[in-house]
Every structure is written in structure tokens, then in C-alpha cells.
Amino acid sequence: MATDTMIQIEDLKKIFYTDEIETHALSGVHLNINRGEYVAMSGPSGCGKSTLLSIIGLLDTPTGGSYTLNGKAVANLNFADRSRIRNQEIGFIFQSFNLIGDLTVAENVELPLTYRAGMPATERKKRVQESLERVNMAHRMRHYPAQLSGGQQQRVAVARALAGSPSILLADEPTGNLDSKNGEAVMKLLQELHAEGATICMVTHDPRFAAHAERQVHLFDGKVVAEGELNRLLAEVEG
């Protein structure tokens, strides 16, 4: 295994069972993501990209295949270990921001840090401050999510993902709920983070935003059908 490979996925399968119907969401996915890489995953609705992202983010477990994160097989870890790795290695950015309405901006950002045993409060506050400053939201730290615009909420969500200094940022349609201006701003932020060395894996159906990534992966019917620059991929598929 190459030392710069952060995520290594081999023949990954995911089958959903509802009553007597089997739905093959992923049918043997092979995918490697290197440290510092910015990968965009795209594909039509129902192609399995969100399922793949859930498995990469250890929110879900595969039915088959292997998944190695930072050199450690993580596909079949128990719930507690998966929670710990999610907390320490992975930062999530969701389409609908998923901020908690009853918590202030600062508390939302601090939230993943509170699940780390032994981290002192001063350290948590310091990281919250840094993360919010990084996304230019430090001046809104005492506000509640409902008092922010969509773009601001997504910036807070990015700050929350960054606060834990994760190995990888997983973004699921991060611009899906934003207007184009705010969408562009969030993309710019991700690019800046990538430029600073962050590993990012983003799911998007919008080619304009996928173009921000240095590498694009296209899924279709639960398989990776092509990798490379998106326009070329589309041309290949259509051709």
C-alpha cells in the first residue's frame, strides 16, 4: 500500500433489503483516495454516490468488500469504534447544513470536540475560534443557526467539520441548498482548504462545482464507471 493512500476501497458492495426485494446500491466499487486529494463524485440520482459517501464516512457498513482508512481496515468495526474514527478522522459537510437549532454557532462547532474524551475546554474553545475565523464566521459565534443565511450556515458547517482536524472532509452536495453566489463561495472555501492540504471527497451532481475538484469519479448503477475530467467523462458516457 502506498504511503500516501488514505482511502482504499476494494470490491465494495451494499445491498438493501426491503421485504423480499434486494436493491444493489453498490456493486463492487474500487476506489483509492490519496492524502491531500480533492475528489468529486458524481452520477445520476440513485447511482449510489451518497451510499458510498456514507460508507466512506463510516455512517454505514458495506455488505461486502474491503475498506481501509489510513491503513486500517474499517469496514466491519463495531459501533463505538466507528463513532470514534468518525469523530477523529472524518469531517462532514451536508447539503442541508445540519446545524442544531438549539445550539449557538460556537456550540455547533464545538459539538464534535465534546465527544473527544479528555480534550480540555480551553483547547476546544481555541479550536472553535480558529475554525470560525478560518471561514470568516467568528463574528457570529453567539448567533443561532436560524439567525444566519444559508451560505453562512454552510460556512459554520464547514467550520464544524474542520474543528476536529480530520484526515478527510466528506461533503455531500454542499451547495445543494444554496443559491449560485453562496454556492460559489462555499466551493471557493473548499478549494482554499484543499490548497492548504486538506483531503476532500465531495458528492455533487452539478458539473460546475465538480470542476473545482482535481479528480472526478463518476458512478452509475452502483459502480465507478469512469475517472478523470468530468466533461471528458460525460462525452465518453454519451458517446
Binding site: 455512517l59 459501533f79 463505538a80 463513532s83 468518525r86 451536508f94 442541508s96 442544531i100 438549539d102 459539538l111
Partner: protein, 847 residues
């Protein structure tokens, strides 16, 4: 009207669509409303219900206290509620403001009369009779069911002896035989003609579990009772109740009656000394409304019933909070529907009306179900409050006032639990609800829900503390050291005076009773007494120790006393500590002696003087040498189990002190036989009845009980209150726990996406469980913080009901807190564990 019908129809349809919610709400309401209606049935019957007589509002009672049954001196605070017969006549003849002024015997008890229908061969039976003035039934404006009622002409010395039989006794004992009217009965061995039957609804002049079987003219009292009170002006033994003429002012009449009282008291013996002269101007009569009759039971049960009413009200409040939560959750779930209605132009008022209608319909359904709970509850209450009292005129079946109360309570309940959810639901922003749940917003309903849970927890703590204190108090009361032995002891109440015995026949009778009972198999000891410990009776006198000055008004010289046979102390387990007990040598002709208890010695010989050989009397200094103290016995709780042992002396039967006893021969008649058995006493009652009947067919068993059972009977009211409070406390706890569970479960469901987010951010199952549990416990904790001072405050109202435990018993408080915390923990843990099993992927998909 059309709109209302539409709302009701829609409400019924909505409730039908949610059977789980409807069933839960109706059951909760049924318990709350039913419990209140059951208590109200008792409150109405005991405290509020007028006598079933004509125009009860114009009846006025002379006196306001529940004094009973014979008073020999001056009343407490000089307020008269009991009257001598001569005094009654004086008042009646001097107060034309009364259309009628009737007198009635204060002490009516089962067994006071021995009755046998003359024409039949039936055995004599213990009955109850009440001496009343001849105008008694006229005062109440009653008509007989059969025959006629008593008339003033029956209440004249020398008139043919007549009695009126109660409808209940006629039905119960004589199968409604019409020939009873006009027939001769032997009452206390005297022939008396039953002239009529009372109307069916009439149960007497007071609520009691032993209503009289016979109403007898008061002038017959000296014939039927050897210790006649009628001609003793110093004996007050009658209640007086009258009907005032229309337009009579009660204030001036009260003044007049008090003046008449003082006029009559001036020449009385008890007002001849300095203390009496000083007390005379203060002597007075308070006039009270007489519609409820003689309100002794009201006085006895008022505080207990008011307490229970308050407690059941708290339970209903908790139930209301629970339903309000359920309705709120439903309202939130139907927010989209409400939003659509509002988007279509429905005014807030209209939405509130619809939701309130739904709540009121629900409350009415709960009220109807509550009637069934109330019926069962009332039966249980009656069994608990008045065990073995078939004569009590209180019925469990719903009465019109109870139905009205239940309906009114249902409407009130519906408003209480419906109004806040209706307001909150109607104030949701339609645009917000229609938009969906994407944006995180703060929920105003959840604050109300949590407040309701906090209220429930606080009220539950109050009830649990109350239940704990009352249960602990009852436990201490029942298990205190009474100073006597109850195991294998049996008490048989008798009435030799009713059987026609004269004082000079008693020595032989007592000897025969002792011999015959000793001969019964299994009997180890036999003792006779005027009355037995803890049966509710008490004879008291003022004691003057020889060599001491005449006691003053403020000197506490009272002592209780009893007459006993030689073996009585041994039979009840009362130890002789010094000197001797009563012996066979203490006869009617031997020196007059008494045995005193330890408290008597402490009270009258506080400086360590030797009581043995000391003398005392019961009629001041002049009588002080009459009775010699020959022994000291251990203290025994005789009178009131809630109070300290009273100073007490015991005298042999048949010894009469010429100066002290005021010619009162009533005390010579034994009221009870106490048997000490070698083992359990199954089948003994029939043997006892046979044995007594063999001595004299008129010697009936007034009451048969084990000694333990008799003592237990002293705690009926405490048991009722403690058990009901405990039951209500547990019900409140269950309701509060269900409420907490419901709110926590709802919160968990509402927060599923948030929980998903937290899990995505790395929260483990433990984190989620502790988060949910922490919130549930926080609500319980706030409830505790509020409930604790409230409970401390409320305990003040309980203090009069407590025995042997302070209002701030730390064990009870700690216990109540632990129970509440554990319940909250269990109620919170179920949804917490469910939250921990949330699948983050699904949760995020929901979002």
C-alpha cells in the same frame, strides 16, 4: 349551533382516527375525573347534603360542637351544644321565634336498646334507639310511611308507651310486615307500641353508621334506662334543633337564646362557686345552620375529606398536564393540516375553537368513563371509610349532584388541558410549517411540554411526600406500644341494663357471667369492665386529692376512670406495679378503693409522694377522703391512641361513693366482657351468644370483636387517608412517569435528525443515551427543586393528621425523591435507548 355540531362531529372523527391517543387520554381522564367524583360523592354525602326533610334551610341548631354524649359540668369555653332536658324545655317555651324546637339524644349507639317483638317467639336483639322530643317529626315536617309519627301527646309522663320504627329496621328486621304497626314490642323488657314507620328516605337527624331503629319519646327515658338523665338538670345529654319562623333574624335570636341559657344556669349547682359565677356571663349558645342536622360526622371527617379532595385535585391536575402534552404532540403532528387550514383562510379563533371542541369532547368521554371509575371508587371508599356500616346512608350509585360535578369537572378539565395546546398550535406560522423541516427552528411547544412535565414531577413529589408521611404516621400509630396484650383476646359488648337488671342484681349476674365463660372450652381468663381500652368510650371526673385545696377553674384535675373486675388487668395484660389490684373482697359493702395508673401518680403525686394509702374524691374537698388508692398499674392507652396516656383510676364494680357518684348508677352496669383465649377463637361467637342467652334471653351481644380488631377500628380514618394518599401518590407517579416518557419519546422522535447529526459527528451510543437521559433528569430535577419547597409548605396542612413523625421527616423526603428519580430514570431510559439505536444514515435522510 350548526358550526358547533360540525366541530363536535369533526372532533369525534379525529379521535376515532387516533384510537391509541384517544384510549390513553380517556383512561387517564377517567382515572382523574373518577377519583375526584368518588371523593366528591363522599364529600357531598357527608359534608354538604341536607337532611331529607322539608325546607331544611329553615332549620337551626343550637350549638356548634360535636360534644357527646353526656356532659356533667360546664362545657369547654362555656359554649353549649349539649343540653339538659329542663334547659331544653326552658328554651323551647321561651322562644316563640321557633315554629318548633326539638330535642334529640346525643349518644345514639347500637345496642343501646334490646328489642323483641312481643307477639313473636323471636329472640331479643340489640338495637339502637333515640330519645326524641314529641315534636321531633313535626320539626322536620315529616309524614309517616305507615301508621303515625310521634306527637307531643306521646311525650308526656304517663302517656301510653309509643315508639316509631325506622323504615330501614322495618325492612331489615321485620320484612316490611304491615302488622308491625300497632303491635307491642318489648324494649329493654318494657312493652311499647310501635305506632308508625318513618319515611324511607329519613335516616335520622344526623349522618351516622348506626342510625336509630326506634324513635322514643324522651319522657320514656327514665323507664327504659335505669341511669335516667331526664330528671338530672346537671346532666346535659340532648342536642336541640329547631325550625325558625320566616323572617327571623339569627343574630338577635342567638343573643336571646344565650340570655335564656344564662337565666336558667344561674341557680344550677355548678354555677354556685366562684369559678362558676365567673364563667356564667361567658356562657352562650351559637346558632348554626341545621339543614345537615347534627353535624358530628361532618366535624369528624371534614379535615380528612378536604385533604383527600385536595389530593385528588392534584392528581387531576397531573392528568390534565399529561393530556395537555398528548394534545400538544398531536397538535404539532397536525401542524401541516392546521397550516393548510390557515392558508385557506381559517381565523385563529376558528382553529382554537376546533381544537378546544376536540379537547372538550375528549374530556366528556373521559368523564363518562370516569363515572364507572367513580362508582367503583366510591364503593371502595365506603368500604375503607366505613367498614361494617351497612346502615350508613351513603350510596355509590351516581346521584344528580355527582353527575353534575363530573360533567362540570369534565368541561373544566377539557378547558385546562386544551387551551394551551390550542393556542400554541393556532400560532404556528403557516409558511413555516408548509415549508417543511429543513431549517432548524426553536420549538415553543417543547418549552410548554417540559414545563408540564416539571409541573407533574413537582406535584408528584408533593403527593409522594404526603403519602409517605401519612403511611409512616399510620404505621407508627398502629405499631405503637399500647401497653396491653391483644393476642387471643375477645371483646363482647353487653347491656345488662337493657335486659332489665337492677343494680342489686348485678353482683350475682357478674359472678354468673364469669363462671359460665370460664367454663367455656379454650377460655383462660374472664374480665368485665364498664368499657374497654380503645373502644372510643371515656368516662372522666375531676379528682381532688385528700389534703389538697379545692381545685380552681384552671387546675387540671381531670382523670379518666373505669370499673373492672379482679381479673380484668391480667386479661388485658395490664401489670400491677405497686400495691394490689382489684380483688373479690372489694364489694359494694367494703371500703371504697381504686387502683391508679402510672400517669395518675405522676400527675397527682409529682413530688414522689407515696400514692398507696392516699385518698381522693370526685366532688371537691368534702369528698376527698372517700376513695383509697390501693395499687398502681402500668399505663395503657385507653382513650385516644393518638394522645399520651391519660391519668386514670380503676374502681371495683358495685362500689358506690355516696358523695362523689351523684347517684349515677349507670356506671355499675358492665358494658363489656373481655375473654383471654388459649388459642384462636373460631366459632366462639355462637357459644358466647348461647351462654348469654342461657343466663337471660334478654342479655344480647351488642358487639363481638377481637381485641385487635377493636383497636384497629380506631384507625379507620387514618387508614382511609393513608391508603388513598398512597394510591393517589402512586397514580400521580405513574402519570408523571408516562408524561416524562411521552415528552422524552416525542423529543427523541423530533430530534432524530439532530441525533443523526451528532452520531455523524462522532457521538457514541453512550453519548446519546446520556444526552437524552440528562434532559429527562433535568426536567425531573427542576420538578424536584420546585416540588420540595412546595411539599414542605403543604406538609403544614398534614400536621394535624400525623402521629409520631414530624412534617419534615428526612426518611420520607429522601424516599420520595429516590422514588421520583428512579421513575424518571426508567421513563427516560426507554426513549434514550431508542435514540441510541438511531441509524444516522436514516436520520440524516429524514432531515
Amino acid at each position: 349551533m350548526n358550526g358547533l355540531m360540525q366541530d363536535v362531529t369533526y372532533a369525534l372523527r379525529q379521535l376515532r382516527k387516533a384510537p391509541g391517543f384517544t384510549l390513553t387520554a380517556v383512561l387517564t381522564l377517567a382515572l382523574g375525573i373518577g377519583a375526584n367524583a368518588a371523593i366528591f360523592t363522599l364529600v357531598h354525602a357527608v359534608l354538604l347534603q341536607n337532611l331529607p326533610v322539608s325546607d331544611p334551610k329553615s332549620l337551626v341548631r343550637l350549638g356548634d360542637k360535636d360534644d357527646c354524649c353526656v356532659m356533667g359540668g360546664r362545657p369547654e369555653n362555656e359554649g353549649y351544644s349539649l343540653f339538659a332536658y329542663d334547659l331544653y324545655k326552658h328554651l323551647r317555651d321561651s322562644a316563640p321565634e321557633f315554629e318548633q324546637l326539638a330535642a334529640m339524644q346525643a349518644g345514639v349507639s347500637q345496642g343501646a336498646l334490646t328489642a323483641r317483638r312481643g307477639a313473636s317467639n323471636s329472640l331479643s336483639k340489640a338495637s339502637s334507639g333515640e330519645f326524641v322530643s314529641g315534636n321531633y317529626f313535626q320539626t322536620f315536617g315529616l309524614q309517616s310511611y305507615a301508621g303515625r309519627l310521634l306527637l307531643p301527646s306521646d311525650d308526656v309522663a304517663g302517656a301510653p308507651m309509643a315508639a316509631v320504627l325506622s323504615y330501614r329496621a322495618w325492612q331489615r328486621d321485620y320484612a316490611m310486615d304491615p302488622s308491625v304497626v300497632g303491635s307491642i314490642f318489648e324494649l329493654n323488657t318494657h312493652p311499647v307500641t310501635v305506632v308508625g314507620i318513618t319515611p324511607p328516605s329519613f335516616y335520622g337527624d344526623r349522618m351516622t353508621d348506626t342510625p336509630p331503629d326506634f324513635y322514643l319519646p324522651v319522657t320514656m327515658e327514665p323507664i327504659l334506662d335505669p341511669g335516667a338523665l331526664l330528671k338530672r338538670p346537671e346532666a346535659s345529654w340532648l342536642y336541640v334543633l329547631g325550625r325558625v319562623k320566616p323572617g327571623t333574624q339569627i343574630g338577635p335570636l342567638q343573643e336571646k337564646m344565650s340570655g335564656l341559657l344564662r337565666d336558667w344556669l344561674i341557680p344550677q349547682k355548678v354555677y354556685q362557686n366562684a369559678d362558676g359565677k365567673k364563667a356564667l356571663p361567658k356562657s352562650h349558645i351559637v346558632l348554626t345552620p341545621g339543614g345537615v342536622g347534627i353535624a358530628n360526622m361532618q366535624a369528624e371527617y371534614r379535615s380528612g375529606l378536604e385533604l383527600l379532595m385536595g389530593i385528588s385535585g392534584l392528581v387531576l391536575l397531573i392528568a390534565c398536564a399529561n393530556i395537555a402534552n398528548l394534545v400538544l404532540v398531536r397538535g404539532m403532528a397536525r401542524r401541516a393540516e392546521t397550516s393548510i387550514r390557515m392558508a385557506l383562510g381559517a381565523a385563529r379563533k376558528r382553529i382554537i375553537r376546533q381544537m378546544l371542541t376536540e379537547s372538550l369532547v375528549l374530556a366528556c368521554l373521559g368523564g363518562v368513563a370516569g363515572l364507572a371509575v367513580s362508582y367503583a371508587g366510591t364503593r371502595m371508599l365506603l368500604a375503607l371509610a366505613f367498614p361494617d356500616s351497612p346502615g350508613l346512608p351513603i350510596h355509590a350509585s351516581p346521584s344528580l349532584p355527582m353527575l353534575g360535578f363530573a360533567f362540570g369537572l369534565s368541561l373544566l378539565t377539557g378547558l385546562i388541558f386544551g387551551i394551551a395546546p390550542a393556542w400554541i398550535t393556532s400560532h404556528s406560522e403557516p409558511a413555516e410549517s408548509l415549508r417543511g423541516a429543513n431549517r432548524s427552528t426553536r420549538d415553543s411547544a417543547s418549552l410548554l411540554q417540559r414545563s408540564l412535565v416539571v409541573t407533574q414531577a413537582a406535584l408528584s413529589l408533593v403527593l409522594l411526600v404526603g403519602a409517605g408521611l401519612l403511611t409512616r404516621s399510620l404505621n407508627k400509630l398502629e405499631h405503637q406500644n399500647f401497653g396491653l396484650q391483644t393476642e387471643n383476646r375477645v371483646v363482647i359488648h353487653i347491656s345488662p341494663d337493657n335486659a332489665g337488671y337492677k343494680p342489686d342484681q348485678l353482683q350475682a349476674l357478674y359472678g354468673e357471667i364469669e363462671d359460665r365463660f370460664r367454663a367455656l372450652p379454650g377460655v383462660e381468663g374472664v374480665g368485665l369492665s364498664l368499657y374497654t381500652p380503645l373502644e372510643g368510650d371515656n368516662w372522666g371526673e375531676g379528682v381532688t386529692i385528700q389534703g389538697r385545696p379545692e381545685p380552681g377553674q384552671n387546675d387540671h384535675v381531670g382523670a379518666s376512670w373505669d370499673r373492672v373486675t379482679p381479673d380484668f388487668f391480667q386479661v388485658i395484660g395490664q401489670r400491677i406495679l405497686r400495691g394490689r389490684g382489684i380483688t373479690d373482697q372489694d364489694t359494694g359493702t367494703s371500703p371504697i378503693v381504686a387502683v391508679v395508673n402510672e400517669t395518675f401518680v405522676k400527675k397527682f403525686f409529682p413530688n414522689g409522694e407515696d400514692p398507696i394509702g392516699a385518698h381522693f374524691g370526685l366532688d371537691g374537698v368534702k369528698s376527698a377522703g372517700e376513695i383509697e388508692i390501693v395499687g398502681v398499674v402500668s399505663d395503657v392507652k385507653y382513650v385516644n391512641p393518638r394522645e399520651a396516656v391519660q391519668a386514670m383510676y380503676f374502681r371495683p364494680f358495685l362500689q358506690h361513693a355516696p358523695l362523689s357518684d351523684n347517684a349515677d348508677v349507670r356506671s355499675l352496669f358492665a358494658g363489656a366482657i373481655m375473654l383471654q383465649m388459649r388459642g384462636p377463637s373460631e366459632g366462639l361467637e355462637a357459644q358466647v351468644r348461647r351462654t348469654l342467652a342461657n343466663i337471660n334471653p334478654n342479655l344480647t351481644v351488642v358487639n363481638f370483636n377481637t381485641f385487635g380488631g377493636q383497636i384497629e377500628g380506631q384507625f379507620t380514618q387514618e387508614k382511609l387517608i393513608a391508603r388513598l394518599t398512597l394510591m393517589f401518590g402512586m397514580l400521580a407517579l405513574v402519570l408523571a412517569s408516562v408524561g416524562l416518557y411521552g415528552v422524552t419519546a416525542y423529543t427523541v422522535a423530533r430530534r432524530t435528525p439532530e441525533i443523526g447529526i451528532r452520531m455523524a459527528l462522532g457521538a457514541g451510543r453512550g453519548n446519546v443515551v446520556s444526552m437524552v437521559l440528562r434532559e429527562a433528569m433535568l426536567q425531573a430535577g427542576v420538578g424536584l427543586a420546585i416540588g420540595l419547597p412546595v411539599a414542605l409548605l403543604c406538609v403544614r396542612f398534614l400536621k394535624t393528621q400525623l402521629y409520631g413523625t414530624g412534617g419534615q421527616d428526612p426518611v420520607v423526603f429522601a424516599g420520595a425523591i429516590v422514588v421520583l428519580v428512579v421513575s424518571a430514570c426508567v421513563a427516560g431510559l426507554i426513549p434514550a435507548r431508542r435514540a441510541a439505536s438511531t441509524d444516522p444514515v436514516k436520520a440524516l435522510r429524514t432531515e
